[in-house]
Amino acid sequence: MKGFLLSLLALGFQEGLAETRKAIASGDYRGAWELVLAESNELVRLSGQAELLYKAGDPAGALKAATAGLEIAPTQTELIYYAACAAIWLEEATSAIAFSNRLAQAADERKDSSGNSWRQAGEELAVRASSIAERDEQLAHSVKLLRLVAMGGIAAWILGIGIALLLQGRSRRPVS
């Protein structure tokens, strides 16, 4: 029953967004926006917004729309896909990894022939998300190291000079 409903939903998506996609492809973003807003199904509307904003170069807006849509349909693959893509674009590692994994999981649950393609997309996005996480870790490590070098360097230099002066003071000859 659940699978049947999901199939119906996916079909609704394809039909509901076909015109929107045509408008986006022709560069008529404003027209696409109007079409999306006119959509009565909230889920389709949010999905359309996510796709439109992502393609219009606004990943933050796309992520917001996709996240809102996922609250209604947590396993909707298109929404998870755009959420993952937007999170990667924004270089938000934690969300990117979570959405990528969720996409692979949602793909497994799909009964139609597109499951494999979604799974593959999820895996590819997961690789990119992991590299962002590694980069974040690398940057955090670098900042820590630089802080240590800066503060340690100053402390070591002052300490070194102090010790050298102390030693020199002991062997100092009297000045005439």
């Binding site: 973003y29 933050a60 917001k64 940057l139 670098s142 800066a150 230099w157 000045v175």
Partner: protein
């Protein structure tokens, strides 16, 4: 004489230090603060140590040795600095990743590279004072005054020499060698006053300096597929022309003090629109609603002429006057970015944007403001209410100001502050337009004219233009900013743009995290 040479050397070291760090950290206020702080700490330590060493029986001999060691160290600084930066920093740092790295990175490098030689130079004054007092039987006060007088004069010469002669003419590495050689001479001078076999010590030091010529300091590595076409040290900045050959149609970028992924100018073979995501395209926005021709444009921050080439794609009669502070940028523009003066392009080179506004008498249909300094900062005198008022006077009735602002959101501290200040100066609402596939915003303001706004979004184009407004017409892509008495405008007297910029970088990172969750 020795005090004067050491004073000059210290100032050259300080100014060149910022330039040495620039390829990795830029030259923002944070970097300057760190370098100055380290040099001051070094001088304080040096004075203290020098005072103690002055009690030695032969202070001039000690001084000679110190200067020889300093000379040897300074010769190697370009290589040391570059090598340490390569090892300590991750590669290919993007601008939004740079917030923490700029502060701690520049401090760490300054400590490692400049603290030791500057401390050594700091010991010079007390030692010279002691030597002078003993040799000429002067009172400490008189000897100190004389040494400070000479040292400060030397510093003065060092400051002017570095900015106007050494860096532009010799480049960074040779400037360090020059200081090194000067210290070598000063060291030998001190030793010759203290002992007769000074030349032997000097010879070994000269050998150390000479060997530093065998190594070339590295610069931040380029991404795969990018090649360097030219590099230059100008009076203002380190410049590098690189070409991105990973694209089907190669793009050339002019990088300035670059360690990050930002750039100052872009070139592609065809004039007209650049690929999506390059903010220069959005300087064409006013042409979508304004039919006037000829269209006279004043570009403040011409760089290597990218805006002029983008505008040249329009069919309208467009005349561009470009103002660029750094003549070396214009020179590179002519060689690598097809910037050519002619009937449609006039270049005012070597002029500050604000000075140019005051000097010029002409009026323009559009003023393009694209001035950035130190990689990330809008110069403080180019974002104040007084500046925007002066700029407004250069516009014809209905004329447009278009300004490029880097920021992560409409609420970005820099974007909001500059837009609100501009609205207050123009005493009318202004428009902020998000630039698609980019982290920049375009500020649009008009002198006594209507802004293209329709209900909740940017108004549709009414004139033909090569720029397709596309996603810019979506609600949420543009926002009006009203003049406000509540908002404290940036003024010539109060303009914390540097801290706003840093706040912007920090908040950009935070906002990503919030949105992501």
């Amino acid at each position: 004489m020795i005090a004067a040479l050491a004073g000059a050397g210290t100032m050259v070291l300080e100014l060149a230090a910022v330039r040495l760090l620039a390829p990795w950290f830029g030259t923002s206020l944070v970097v300057w603060t760190n370098v100055i702080a380290v040099i001051l700490l070094a001088l304080a330590l040096g004075y203290f140590v020098g005072g103690r060493l002055a009690e030695k029986p032969a202070p001039l001999r000690v001084l000679g040795w110190i200067l020889l060691v300093a000379a040897s160290l300074i010769a190697w600084l370009p290589y040391l600095g570059a090598s340490l930066a390569e090892r300590l920093l991750p590669g290919e740092i993007a601008l939004h990743e740079a917030a923490g790295l700029i502060g701690w990175g520049s401090l760490a490098l300054a400590v490692l590279v400049f603290l030791p030689p500057a401390t050594l130079l700091g010991t010079v004054c007390p030692l010279v004072v002691e030597g002078l007092a003993r040799a000429r039987q002067l009172s400490p006060g008189r000897a100190g005054g004389l040494v400070l007088f000479m040292s400060t004069l030397g510093s003065l010469a060092g400051v002017f020499g570095t900015s106007h002669l050494f860096l532009p003419m010799l480049g960074l590495q040779r400037t360090f060698w020059l200081v090194s050689t000067v210290m070598l001479v000063a060291g030998l001078l001190a030793l010759s006053l203290g002992e007769s076999r000074a030349w032997l010590r000097g010879l070994s030091c000269a050998f150390l300096i000479g060997t530093s010529a065998a190594v070339t300091p590295t610069r931040p590595s380029l991404r795969t597929g990018m090649i360097e076409l030219a590099s230059r040290e100008s009076t203002y900045q380190s410049l590098r022309v690189v070409e991105d050959r990973t694209r089907e149609a190669p793009l050339r970028l002019l990088q300035v003090n670059e360690g990050f992924d930002s750039f100052q100018s872009v070139w592609q073979e065809q004039h007209g629109l650049l690929p999506d995501g390059y903010y220069y395209n959005d300087f064409l926005l006013p042409l979508s609603w304004d039919e006037r021709s000829p269209w006279r444009v004043l570009v403040l921050g011409l760089g290597a002429g990218t805006v002029a080439r983008v505008l040249a794609g329009e069919e309208r009669d467009i005349k561009v006057t470009g103002v660029e502070l750094d003549p070396a940028v214009v020179d590179l523009g002519q060689k690598y970015f097809a910037l050519s003066e002619g009937s449609n392009v006039t270049v005012w080179s070597g002029l500050d944007a604000r000075t140019a506004l005051r000097i010029g008498q002409d009026e323009f249909e559009q003023v393009v403001l694209d001035c950035y300094a130190n990689q990330i900062e809008i110069p403080h005198h180019l974002c104040t209410v007084e500046f925007f008022r002066e700029l407004r006077e250069r516009l014809v009735d209905g004329g447009w100001l278009t300004a490029n602002l880097g920021g992560f959101d409409f609420t970005d501290p820099v974007v909001f502050a500059v837009a609100s200040t501009c609205a207050n100066a123009f005493n009318s609402r202004v428009l902020l337009v998000r630039i698609p596939w980019s982290r920049n915003y375009m500020l649009l303001a008009r002198r006594d004219g209507y802004l293209p706004w329709s209900q909740d979004a940017l108004g549709s184009a009414t004139q033909p233009s090569i720029l397709d407004l596309g996603p810019r017409l979506l609600p949420g892509y543009a926002r009006l900013v009203e003049p406000s008495e509540v908002f404290r405008s940036l003024t010539d007297d109060w303009c914390p743009i540097e801290s706003l910029q840093l706040q912007s970088l920090v908040e950009a990172h935070k906002s990503r995290l919030v949105v992501g969750k």
